[in-house]
Amino acid sequence: MFFVAPAMIVLAAILGFPIVDSILLALQRVQLTGGAVSQSWVGLENFQRLFADPVFWKAAINTAYFSVMEVILVTLISLGVALLLNHPMGKSGFFRILLIIPWAIAPVANAVLWKWILHANYGVLNGILKSLGIIDNYQVWLGSPFSALNFLLIVDVWKSVPFVALLMLAGLQRVPQSLYRAAYMDGAGPLQSFLHVTLPTMRGVLAIAVVLQTIWSLRVFDLVFVLTRGGPADATALLNFLAYRVTFNFLDLGYGSAIANVIFAVTFILAGLYVWLLWPRQTGASR
């Protein structure tokens, strides 16, 4: 108890009040004037406003598209990368270093780098694509709604793959070799042993990766902030960014909290799913 208590107290002190207060704030009109905070209770007004707000719905749809695509792409690419690095030819430490570098790069530095890569006049992407003959003229990649949202997606996938791939690689390395031998004895080919040995043993890891990645995809902020600030025409305004903008640019703290609560609720459900997936089921498996 002496061991656990200090950590729990600190966590409770930092998080307990904000968690409760974030729900309470959503039921208030909170204004910041000259550094002073004034609060008054308004019941569910913020939520009524929320459901009638086209910008909120747009952000919700953007977020749904972004998260679903992000999770699908990250999961598939990470699985591919993990399989490659688990192959005897991919075992070199060099590849692992390549995987850990994008993970360690600060999201902001990553965003600044991609802003330069995607630059409309001098960006290297335009240069490469033009010299390959894929495009005729330089494109303003972040200038049109559809393209901006999808480039945001690509950059986020680039940054997110390494961590998930490492998680999956660890999972692959836990698949007992004896299972592959047994499958081989039974005459299974490479595809069959992937489908019947690798995938089933990896099911837990895959499920965890999908749930965690969904939660993380709802948090994307740095990229939006640096690359597009939600534009053009709110095409890249994800819920998380919208909540930030409403709160800290428009100083509408109560309404911002209401949006944050929506994210909170979705995340809470997903977190429950994650815990359910991880919860030790055999008695005495841990302690």
């Binding site: 950590a7 968690i19 005897p88 600060a106 998680l167 965690l212 998380n240 997903l270």
Partner: protein, 282 residues
């Protein structure tokens, strides 16, 4: 087909793997390479189409200019260092005993507590940022390095506990039993027996926490103004102000990411094992 053949695959599969690895190398290393190259090239070489990569255009002036001109960058690095070291140290000091107890000692509802701690890590930053902002404003602690460091404990403490708990569950019980037979108390067992064999996972947890704190942007944006700005904020501001001086922008980015990349490469094996254990063990 031999078993080895099944694992390595025939010529077709080997070609596919090789091609896949090549794509992977270009995809991961390309952007990073361009980051480093741009930081070393003069402006006139960068805005040519295609960029002029002749050796004469390589220079370190981007770095010297950025370091010389931007006092903000130096202050940012210092602040990031303080925040990251503070939150890492406190997270380890509080997290290691907690992780040990949750893994090994008869704590009631140990699993429940462990998952509660994990669940806090799933909280969306924005939900807790608004109340924290109001609270910290009222306390007059906005733009304070230490208040940022304390807020960072909210994610670093759970990370540390989960990485270490994964490790502590896997160490053999024999050592502790032997210590108990010799009449060594829990505190002494933890301090003299468990901690010394836990240096690798402690390092992994420390590196992980340090990197997270060093890179954090969202809370820093909300809770600091000028005085306590950390590196990611300085970089973001740079990108806004000097967005046409590409080489300098990249030089600043390179400076900001180098320390954590070095840490990550040096400790990659511990980190990989550490987070795989922490994230996947119930």
């Amino acid at each position: 087909m031999s078993f080895a053949r099944l694992q390595h695959g025939g010529p077709v599969r080997q070609t596919v793997v090789l091609a896949g690895l090549a794509v992977f190398v270009v995809w991961s290393a390309g952007p990073v390479l361009w980051l480093v190259l741009s930081s070393l090239l003069q402006q006139k070489a960068l805005i040519q189409q295609p960029p002029d990569l002749s050796p004469a255009n390589f220079t370190l002036t981007n770095f010297t200019t950025v370091v010389g001109a931007a006092a903000a960058l130096g202050r940012g690095i210092f602040n990031s260092l303080v925040v990251a070291l503070f939150s890492t140290a406190v997270a380890l000091a509080l997290g290691a005993p907690a992780a040990y107890a949750l893994a090994r000692l008869p704590v009631p509802r140990a699993n429940g507590i462990a998952f509660l701690i994990l669940a806090t890590q799933m909280l969306p930053g924005i939900a807790i940022a608004i109340p924290l902002f109001i609270l910290i404003s009222k306390l007059g602690l906005i733009d304070n390095v230490l208040s940022l460091g304390v807020v960072y404990l909210s994610f670093n403490l759970p990370i540390v506990i989960w990485i270490l708990r994964g490790f502590f569950t896997s160490i053999p019980v024999g050592l502790e039993k032997a210590a108990a037979v010799d009449g060594v108390g829990i505190f002494a067992t933890f301090w003299y027996i468990v901690l010394p064999i836990s240096i690798p996972p402690l390092t992994a947890a420390a590196v992980f926490a340090f990197v997270e704190a060093w890179n954090e942007f969202f809370f820093a944006l909300i809770l600091t103004r000028q005085h306590a700005q950390t590196v990611p904020l300085v970089i973001a501001q740079f990108a806004g102000q000097y967005q046409t001086v590409f080489g300098q922008m990249m030089a600043a980015a390179v400076i900001s990411v180098t320390p954590v990349i070095i840490l990550a490469i040096l400790f990659r094996n511990q980190i990989i094992r550490g987070f795989a254990d922490g994230m996947m063990k119930g």
